[in-house]
């Protein structure tokens, strides 16, 4: 028992070391991919607070990602504010939007919740698309610059890694807290949770806002990294992407969604070279997952590990 715990810890340290040393070893392209994976991993893990831990499937999370990205873009490019203020404003703006939309969504259960989140996500997309005075509409906002220190690939990488790491630590804390436990209870039996004295709607709203805010931070990280933002950031297919990441990686594990993000981005970069029908591939993969392995890749891994352990046991 002790051996596996310390082996686990050593694995973490190894991972941390690899991540820290990456810029020294990897060429620019791979570093950029790693940065993008980190951002998407944050997006997916924040999303999974709602899905895996809260049992709420949101199909409009890209909307909050876009709010974060556009806040940075608009404040730096249109209002001329310094990057730091814009970056700090992004999660605040996202939380506000999420609080308003979430207020309606959390009052519904099951399908209704999911549909409404989709509707609000599209509403956000529509606002971004049509309010051209503020957002440049379909042209998007380009030329977003991070301060010099963060502009180089290595700088952007470390900045993203640091922030993602901090957010992941926060997520871990949330999940281990009484709040996290009660969220699990809501997932398991919403009605019963009311009857132990918990204001379910209020807790769901808090979880919703927290989850959306992490998405907003991811968006705020992406804006200076990529340099431009477009309305498509809020489109439902982006929301579907993050659902895929969580399901693919395994929504019942803490780091599953991060793994899913890595897999998705790898596939995205390799498959789009061969075909423009990436959605078809995605849809088929999701279909197969639902039909054959709902627990995603980590679920598969756990099943294999369990089978191996059962086989290893003395007869």
């Amino acid at each position: 028992m002790n051996g596996s715990a310390s082996r686990c810890r050593r694995a973490w340290w190894l991972l941390a070391a690899v991540l820290a040393a990456l810029p020294l070893a990897a060429p620019g392209f791979h570093l950029r991919l790693a940065t993008e994976i980190a951002i998407m991993a944050l997006f997916a893990m924040g999303f999974n607070l709602l899905l895996g831990y809260g049992g709420m499937l949101s199909f409009g999370h890209a909307g909050y990602y876009a709010v974060g990205a556009y806040t940075v873009a608009i404040l730096t490019r249109k209002a001329g504010l310094p990057f730091a203020s814009a970056f700090l404003a992004a999660p605040a703006a996202t939380a506000l939007v999420a609080w308003v939309t979430g207020f309606f969504c959390v009052r519904l259960r099951g399908y209704y919740f999911s549909i409404l989140t989709l509707a609000f996500g599209q509403l956000i997309w529509g606002v971004i698309f049509k309010w051209t005075a503020l957002t440049n509409g379909d042209d998007g906002i380009v030329g977003i610059e991070a301060p010099a220190l963060l502009a180089s690939p290595a700088g952007a990488y470390y900045f993203t890694l640091l922030l993602t790491g901090a957010c992941v630590a926060l997520l871990w804390m949330i999940v281990q807290s009484p709040f996290g436990r009660t969220l699990l209870a809501i997932r398991e039996n919403t009605e019963r949770t009311q009857f132990i004295g918990v204001n379910v709607n209020r807790l769901r709203l808090c979880a919703f806002v927290l989850s959306a805010t992490f998405a907003g931070v991811a968006g705020a990280l992406f804006a200076p990294f990529d340099g431009s933002v477009f309305p498509s950031f809020a489109f439902w297919t982006r929301s579907g992407d993050v659902v895929m990441m969580a399901i693919l990686g395994g929504m019942h594990s803490f780091l599953g969604p991060a793994l899913g993000a890595a897999i998705m981005l790898f596939l995205d970069h390799t498959i789009t070279a061969y075909t423009e029908y990436w959605p078809f591939v995605l849809g088929t993969v999701l279909l197969c997952l639902v039909l054959f392995s709902p627990a995603g890749v980590t679920g598969l891994a756990r099943t294999v590990a369990a089978r191996r352990r059962a086989a290893d046991r003395p007869a």
């Binding site: 807290s177 009484p178 709040f179 996290g180 398991e188 009311q194 004295g197 204001n199």
Partner: protein
């Protein structure tokens, strides 16, 4: 009524065209073990649901400890000191037995929204103690959905107790249990009522259970109270006997 823990007056509830409860007046005395009996469809579950705030009544008032709770939402009523169990054991299937009770203890401690502390450090001892009280101490780590039916009902009792209620509503607490389990559960309920000063209002179909531990009995029939009094008085009541003997499958000891 003076000294009443719960005072219910003029309660009415209809669903669609069906009058589930019509003019129910009931008082539950503090410290009593009070049974609510009646044939299926009499309105017992509706009554419990109204009392715990699942939906509001069409008319009437519910007063608990001199505070009106008629239209309050379930979580508020729970915080005021009323806990309940359900006919079909309503637990958290994916959580362990310990976690089931722990999350309820956290809620009672007002800690459900705390983000910055470890859950394991709060109210854990209390949860362990409750788990042992209901006899599930050795099954703490098992997922709740792997527990037997009887264990689940006891787990639910533990969840309800975690709320430190002053009024405990038990909806058919021994349904589906073997005779030994039934005896054990009811002995536990009786002991808890005495030791912790909890008032118990429960529904039951098993008359031996009812007359075994209840001090007061109220009889509900087609949404109306047809008898209310001490256990002995109800036992002798002719009208009540007629109501039960008229229903198929009823025994009267």
């Amino acid at each position: 009524m003076a000294g009443a823990l719960v005072d219910i007056a003029g309660l009415r509830k209809a669903f669609g065209g069906v009058q589930a409860l019509s003019r129910v007046d009931l008082a539950v005395r503090e410290g009593d073990v009070h049974a609510l009996i009646g044939p299926n469809g009499a309105g017992k579950s509706t009554f419990f649901n109204l009392l715990t705030g699942l939906f509001p009544p069409d008319a009437g008032r519910i007063v608990f400890e001199r505070r009106e709770i008629t239209a309050l939402p379930p979580h508020r009523i729970c915080r005021l000191g009323i806990a309940r169990s359900f006919q079909r054991a309503s637990i958290f299937p994916g959580l362990s037995a310990f976690e089931n009770i722990h999350v309820a203890a956290l809620a009672r401690a007002g800690a459900s929204f705390r983000l910055h502390v470890r859950a394991g450090g709060l109210a854990a001892g209390e949860a362990e103690e409750l788990l042992a009280t209901v006899g599930l101490g050795d099954r703490a780590g098992l997922p709740a959905d792997s527990l037997s039916h009887g264990d689940r009902k006891r787990l639910e009792l533990g969840i309800a107790l975690a709320n430190r209620p002053r009024l405990l509503l038990l909806d058919e607490p021994t349904a589906g249990m073997s005779p030994e389990e039934t005896k054990g559960t009811m002995a536990l309920v009786q002991r808890l009522a005495r030791e912790r000063g909890i008032t118990i209002l429960f529904t039951e179909h098993d008359m031996s259970v009812v007359f075994g531990i209840a001090q007061r009995v109220t009889v509900l029939h087609q949404g109306q109270i047809i008898a209310d009094g001490s256990a002995e008085a109800i036992r002798e009541n002719e009208q009540v006997q007629r109501v039960y003997l008229g229903e198929a499958g009823w025994f009267w000891e």
